[in-house]
Structures are given as C-alpha cells and as structure tokens.
C-alpha cells in the first residue's frame, strides 16, 4: 500500500483509498501501541474489506508518524484533528470509520466533533470503563493492570517508542472517555473479544447508542483483532442498506 506523509508539526503517515473501489470511504483507526499495518493489514482486515475504499493512518506516537514525548500532544482533540486533516488531505468529506481499542474511542470522538463527516462507525475492542483503572502511569514498565500489559507488549514491538507511548497513555488518561453525550445520527456497531477486559461494559455503551454488540468467542483484546467473525460483521454493517440499520 502506497504511503503518503501529511506534513504538519506532527507528520502523519497515511494511505489513500483505491480509486477503483466504489462506495463510502472507510477510515481504519488502529489501537494503542499498534499501527495501520499491524492492526489492519497483517490481521487481514484490508483483505476482508478489499472491495471497499479503505484507508488510514499511523496515529501520532505510532508507526511512521511523528512521535512527540509530551503528553499534552496526545489529547483526544489532537487525534481528532489529525484524522480530520487526513480526510481533508484526501478530499474526503464523509467516511465510515472502523476503530480498534484507542481507535474506537477516536472514532467516537470524531463522530462527536464532526457528525457530518462520519456516516457509520464500528467500535471494536473498546468499552466505556476507564481503560487505565488500577494503572500506575508513572511506572508502566512494571504495572500489572490490563493496560500495563498492553503497554509493555506495544513498547516491545519493533519501532515502538516507549516514551511516546507513555506520553500517549498519560494524555488519554487525562481525558477519560465519557459515554454522554453520544454522537447523534451515526449508526454504530460494537464488537469485542468475549474475554476482552478492556471492553467491559460495551453492552451498556451499545444500549446507550442503540447499536448492536458482537462478541468473538474465546478471544481477548489482543487476539480478537484478527477474528474473522468481526471482519464479516463489520463488512455487513458497512455495506447494508440504510433502512436495514434503522431496525437495530
């Protein structure tokens, strides 16, 4: 997949939709500590969604994008600004958004900040509970909370920048997710591994937005990202006729 770099104070590495693919563009937003390739290409998501015009970026702090070490650079608003800038650069007015983990939260925040730019959203590997509950953000190298384990796994990946990831975690923790207000006018599908503790409460979140929830049997936060059942459900949701979604 051809890569482009959006020049900005924090440069963003992104892809572009295949001009031959028809339909609403699908923005893929990866999770904490991952990147576009790891989260979407190597897991088979881009294969599963190959008929759709999919694209995405490496979030700031991740992959080939800029990696500031100041937690103030990692507010939800900063991430949302990046996503909107990628849409602008590609001249995409409105997209569907599929996010995993942190990416799901950002899909929500994007729909909240720019309701007209998000048609439908798939929120995967995400729940409304505080992802940093019980996490010692000053001592992530030794922290044994669910998020601490995610952090260490991410920091150990090739190209991972532990200082940028720690700043990203602190930036997120300083702005906890709130389920109210919810984005209006964006149909949502929620999905997670059955054993994904970071998605606790996703059923409550789904009730609040009138969306369906799908759980991948036996999968946890790390392994659900590759689950075929989730890719299939997302594809069906994104390609369904609009009136089929209003029943849910």
């Amino acid at each position: 997949m051809t890569r482009y770099t959006l020049p900005a104070p924090v440069p963003l590495s992104h892809t572009a939709p295949d001009p031959a693919a028809a339909g609403v563009p699908v923005l893929l937003v990866h999770g904490f500590g991952s990147d576009y390739e790891l989260n979407w290409e190597r897991t088979g998501w881009t294969r599963a969604l190959a008929d759709l015009p999919v694209f995405g970026c490496d979030l700031r702090g991740h992959g080939a994008s800029g990696k500031p070490h100041d937690s103030r650079e990692y507010t939800p608003a900063a991430f949302v600004g990046d996503l909107a800038a990628v849409l602008d650069a590609l001249a995409i007015e409105r997209a569907d958004v599929v996010g995993y983990s942190l990416g799901a939260r950002l899909a929500w925040e994007l729909a909240l900040a720019h309701p007209h730019r998000v048609r439908r959203a798939v929120l995967a590997g995400f729940g409304p509970r505080d992802a940093f509950a019980g996490t010692d953000l000053e001592n992530l190298e030794a922290d044994d909370s669910p998020f601490g384990r995610v952090f260490r796994s991410a920091a150990a990946l090739p190209g991972g920048d532990p200082a940028a990831l720690a700043a990203c975690a602190r930036g997120q923790a300083a702005h906890p997710f709130r389920a109210e207000p919810a984005p209006e006018g964006t149909p949502m599908l929620l999905m997670a591994g059955e054993r994904d503790e970071l998605a606790d409460g996703v059923e409550d979140l789904a009730r609040g937005v009138g969306g369906a929830v799908l759980r991948a049997p036996g999968r946890d936060h790390r392994t659900a990202v590759a689950a075929r059942s989730l890719k299939r459900a997302a594809t069906e949701f994104l390609t369904a006729e609009a009136d089929a979604l209003s029943q849910s």
Binding site: R42, G44, P158, A224, A226, R228
Partner: protein
C-alpha cells in the same frame, strides 16, 4: 490442470523476532479449495495477532497443527494439492514441454491481485523460506 502436486507451506517469520506462533483458528478445512491470497489461518504471537493468507490456489490436503498448538517458524503448517504448473512455478523450474516462462513467480502477478494491495511481508517471507 493435470495431475495434482503437493506442496507444503511452512509458518513464515512474522517479522517480530519470534520463534513460534499459536494457531488461533483455521479458516480452511481439509478438502476445501482455497484461492491464492485468501484467508488461511489466524495465529497469535506473544506480541500480536495476524491472519496468514494462502500462498497457493489449490485444495487443502492436510493441516499440520490443531487450534491452540504452538508452531515453530519454519515448521509445516498446511499441505496443498496444487495444479502441476503452479507447483513447478514455485520451485522455479519449467514444466516439461512448455515454453520457458518469462520469470520465476516469486511475486503475486498483477493480474491475480484482484484489486488487493496489501504488501504482505509474512507472505513474502514465506516465499523466500521455501
């Protein structure tokens, strides 16, 4: 399409410096026909989860691991029955009686890519390992 040949696909290096991966879920069954680059198996490592695409078009003859099994990089993963011509192309020889092919097929030909554009390192490494 003449007599089928068998070819075995070994677990590729997933590029994380890890020596093994665990089979999460087979996406094919023995006897099933698969397309090149179609979903084959989901695996997990200590660091991530991945879907490995099929390196061949053919019929699945045997799976060499159960779901939940750890498989070493380079160990047999699945054996395919493939058409004689493809099996020959993979090892880089010219099938008898045919005009020499322009090149050994180490990359997915453009006309087979079917609009898919992922660069698949796992797949490429698998090709090299064979």
């Amino acid at each position: 399409m003449t007599q089928p040949n068998e070819t075995t696909f070994h677990l590729p290096d997933l590029g994380e410096g890890l020596v093994e991966a665990t089979v999460l879920e087979w996406l094919v069954r023995p006897g099933e026909r698969v397309e090149r680059n179609g979903p084959l198996v989901e695996v997990e490592t200590d660091k991530s989860a991945a879907e490995i695409p099929s390196p061949h078009t053919g019929v699945v003859a045997r799976l060499h691991a159960e779901e939940g099994d750890a498989v070493a990089v380079g160990a047999p993963l699945v054996t395919f029955e493939v058409a004689a011509q493809e099996a020959a192309g993979i090892v880089g020889t010219v099938p008898g009686g045919e005009a020499p092919r322009r090149r050994v097929r180490l990359r997915l030909p453009e006309e087979d890519r079917d609009g898919q554009d992922e660069k698949d390192e796992a797949d490429d490494r698998g090709e090299r390992d064979r």
